[in-house]
């Protein structure tokens, strides 16, 4: 039954490099970038979406902060957050207070949920000298209302970023930035397409770390890396296993431990789609490179079919539609809903998504995790049973 999937050493090395980047909580490579680019800013951003193009245009490096994974010991973080709040803010605060984020000149806290919103306040109380911005993404998607408001925010942000990095706003190359990120997102879309088609060539345990490395790398470098992986993966020797094809949802903000992804694969699942790290993949189309670049970014938020619990869906019919379309297009046989414990947005959204799946006759299963979940056994049992039931009874 078990076929060994031995990655060619080139892929192994590439993935190992990603894992190293992720595991380095002191952000060594960011520090190195900073040292190599004196005067330019490094700006952190939290889930789930921030227009990184602004930072890039101001000559800076945007760095995604999605928590700290399972290795960081939490002391001060738990002192700031009660037990019934998800894990992400505690590890972010722990990173901050222990000096591991000193290489960042500022932080952007998007309007993802109350926790991240309030974290922005904690941040300004804790680091009064650092640049901190709350990014109020509009929930009114009319260009004349939400659009105008959002454009104002983006303009202000770009101005401040330029000021921080000593760049004349007139020289900020926003269009160039859009181009660079479009290229990156294209590569990631190709990666996801490959995985959906032939998950044995691009297993999710690799895809996940490969994408995640994009939080920390300059975008051009990451694009090259993804393209390289694509070339290697397409050429690799691998044959399919008798696994169940599943789509994963709920993990858009606090990220699951890599071990969880591996556990799913070991339990007989091919993850053919997921909602990991939306900040790196949204919007799932090219941002307009020709017109006014700020307007293009505004439109990117207003007009794309983004589906995440933090974004208002305008009508009942819209709910879950993106998911159902994805399940169909990736030929997933079921959906695993894995959400962080105590994540109100994900967990309040869940009954609605599951309802939509039921109506579409798509099977699903759910469980919760935390970024430092150590006990994989219950998860393995649930995922394994789900895979068993798809495999043993799939056709019938």
């Amino acid at each position: 039954m078990e076929s060994r999937l031995t990655p060619p050493t080139a892929i192994g090395a590439l993935i190992a490099r990603c894992e190293e980047l992720i595991a380095d909580l002191d952000l060594g490579n960011v520090r190195a970038w900073r040292a190599a680019h004196p005067g330019r800013v490094v700006i952190g951003y939290l889930p789930i979406y921030a227009p990184r193009e602004l930072v890039h245009a101001a000559g800076g490096l945007p760095v995604g902060i999605v928590g700290a994974g399972e290795e960081l010991e939490i002391v001060r973080g738990d002192a700031c957050f009660q037990s019934y709040i998800c894990h992400l803010p505690r590890s972010v605060i722990e990173l901050g207070l222990s000096g591991k984020l000193d290489s960042l000149d500022g932080m952007i806290f998007p309007s993802t949920c109350d926790v991240i919103r309030n974290l922005s306040g904690i941040w300004s109380l804790s680091f009064p000298k650092k640049w901190v911005r709350y990014l109020d993404l509009p929930q009114n998607f009319d260009a004349s209302m939400g659009g105008v408001f959002y454009r104002g925010i983006l303009e202000g942000m770009l101005r401040e970023l330029c000021e921080l990095s000593g760049v004349d706003p007139k020289h900020a190359d926003l269009r160039g930035a859009i181009r660079a990120f479009n290229a990156n997102r294209r590569a990631l879309r190709e990666l996801y397409a490959l995985r959906a088609a032939e998950p044995w060539r691009a297993p999710t345990s690799e895809v996940y770390v490969l994408v995640r490395a994009g939080l920390l790398l300059p975008v051009e470098e990451h694009t090259t890396m993804v393209e390289r992986y694509l070339g290697l993966a397409k050429a690799r020797e691998a044959r399919p296993l008798d696994n169940a094809r599943v789509a994963l949802r709920g993990a858009f903000c606090e990220q699951p431990p890599i071990e969880l992804v591996k556990t799913l694969e070991r339990a007989g699942c091919y993850v053919v789609d997921d909602d990991f790290l939306p900040m790196l993949r949204w919007p799932e189309r090219d941002v307009d490179e020709s017109g006014d670049p700020l307007d293009a970014l505004v439109a990117a938020w207003l007009d794309t079919p983004l589906e995440a619990p933090s974004r208002y869906t305008r009508c009942n019919a819209e709910k879950g539609q993106v998911l159902i379309d994805t399940v169909r297009s990736t030929r997933a046989e079921g959906v695993i809903f894995a959400a962080p414990s105590f994540c109100d947005p994900a967990l309040l959204d869940r009954p609605m998504l599951l309802g939509a799946l039921d109506r579409a006759k798509i099977v699903h299963t759910s469980f919760k995790y935390a970024e430092n979940t150590g006990q994989m056994q219950p998860i393995r049992e649930q995922a394994g049973t789900f895979a068993d039931s798809i495999k043993l009874w799939g056709e019938a």
Binding site: I85, D114, V115, S120, L125, N140, M145, C343, D344, L348
Partner: protein, 426 residues
């Protein structure tokens, strides 16, 4: 006499207002009134009244159900229907009630909404809540996005954004749902009455600066804010209620009396506290008793500001109808950023001569709770006073551990008196 509970006359008045409202709702279909479901923070009551719409506040139903010990079963019902244990229990209590036939806390049936009016202030859960309600009722929904006061003040851009939405989205939606035309002059009349009642509420809340305090600004305070934060703002009834309340408090001040508790006049005021966070509703009396038994009176609280920071000067303004509504939405307590919340509480501690402050952290509410531990430390630092921290929930009876809360409060009060004793000795 063992079970009789002492109530202030104003409380009885309020009780009538509320039950009157619920029976109006029950008869909404007969009387042809349209019904809008909406939320307390940043509510647009005057605007709804201007369209003769009756508001239903799901949070108020939830808290009333909590006080009437019905919430446990409703929450269980929602969890049975697939809701997670982890999420806000107001939502689950409401969904559970609706699943169980939508019978309101007074035993009368609630009408389904003609419109879901989502004026979204200070909490993301509201948005999910309305999506869930929309799925249940499949009715017209309108969303007013109110930005957060991230910079610690209301920006012009934010206000313009809200006003524009009010004009181009909300008002048309209300017109459509009610079948009535927007009449700005009517709105202005309501706003003028609001401002009158608001003056009296502020007077009452600030009466706690007296020693002894004539009110409890938390356990009593939640009653005092009732009419103004819900369906009655802008009505003549509210104006009268606050006039009566003010008189009542005035007479207590003159007689040097303390607040009325369910067990009668509170005599001995040993500790003056400022409280942050909503109360627990399922064990409200038991909770309150833990305070007055120890001679603790609350002189200021943030919870009484979730429906507007009137004591900081804001008034609804008939001369700037939509602008002042927008500022109202933007200005509610939960829409303040954390540093502003800290500033406000520090001011309360100082202005009201408090001996200490307490955070009641509720499991349900990320909007309130996340960051409270940091606030606690910051306030301790700035005021030099010790703070206390307890954890309960709004309406989930499983999360109220009386022994635990009592243990902490007792320890805290013993600590305050020990501190005072040594301060006096030296």
């Amino acid at each position: 006499m063992t079970n009789s509970v002492v109530k202030e006359p104003s409380m009885l008045l309020q009780k009538d207002m509320i039950s009157g409202h619920y029976s109006k709702l029950a008869r909404a279909e007969e009387t042809g009134n349209t019904v809008a479901y909406t939320f307390v923070p940043g509510n647009l009551t005057e605007l709804m009244l201007a369209f003769d719409m009756l508001p239903v506040h799901p949070e108020i139903n939830a808290l009333q159900n909590g006080m009437r010990k019905l919430s446990g079963e409703y929450i269980a019902e929602a969890e049975r229907a697939g809701h997670s244990e982890d999420v806000c229990t107001y939502v689950k209590c409401d969904i559970g009630m609706s699943l169980k036939g939508n019978v309101g806390p007074t035993g009368e049936k609630m009408p389904p909404p003609n419109l879901l009016l989502l004026s979204y202030t200070g909490c993301f859960t509201f948005m999910k809540w309305f999506e869930l309600l929309r799925e249940r009722y499949d009715c017209a929904t309108t969303m007013l996005h109110v930005p957060y006061q991230a910079e610690g003040h209301i920006t012009k851009d934010a206000r313009d954004y809200v006003v524009k939405q009010l004009r181009e989205v909300t008002i048309p939606a209300l017109e459509k749902a009610s079948g009535k035309r927007y009449d700005e002059d009517r709105l202005k009349e309501f706003l003028a009455r609001s401002a009158k009642a608001e003056d009296d509420l502020v007077w009452v809340l600030e009466s706690a600066k007296h020693t002894p305090s004539p009110i409890d600004a938390y356990f009593g305070g939640v009653y005092y804010i009732g009419p103004l934060f819900t369906a009655f703002r802008g009505t003549e009834a509210a104006v009268e209620y606050y006039r009566a309340l003010r008189k009542e408090v005035q007479s207590r001040i003159e007689n040097g009396e303390g607040p009325l508790t369910p067990e009668g006049q509170m005599r001995d005021q040993r500790f003056r506290l400022v409280v942050e966070g909503p109360p627990n509703w399922t064990h409200f009396r038991e909770f309150w008793k833990m305070f007055y038994d120890e001679g603790a009176v609350v002189v200021a609280s943030s919870y009484t500001k979730v429906g507007g920071l009137y004591d900081r000067g804001f008034r609804h303004d008939p001369d700037r109808p939509l602008e002042s509504l927008a500022e109202y939405c933007l200005g509610c307590y939960t829409n303040l950023n954390l540093p502003s919340r800290v500033d406000l509480l520090v001011d309360y501690v100082n202005d009201y001569h408090a001996d200490g402050f307490l955070v009641n952290s509720v499991k349900s509410c990320d909007s309130f709770s996340s960051g409270q531990l940091v606030m606690l430390r910051e306030i301790e630092k700035r005021t030099g006073l010790p703070g206390a921290f307890i954890e309960t929930d709004l309406v989930d009876p499983r999360y109220f551990s009386a022994a635990n809360v009592k243990n902490r409060l007792e320890s805290y009060f013993q600590m305050l008196s020990q501190k005072r004793a040594t301060a006096n000795a030296s």
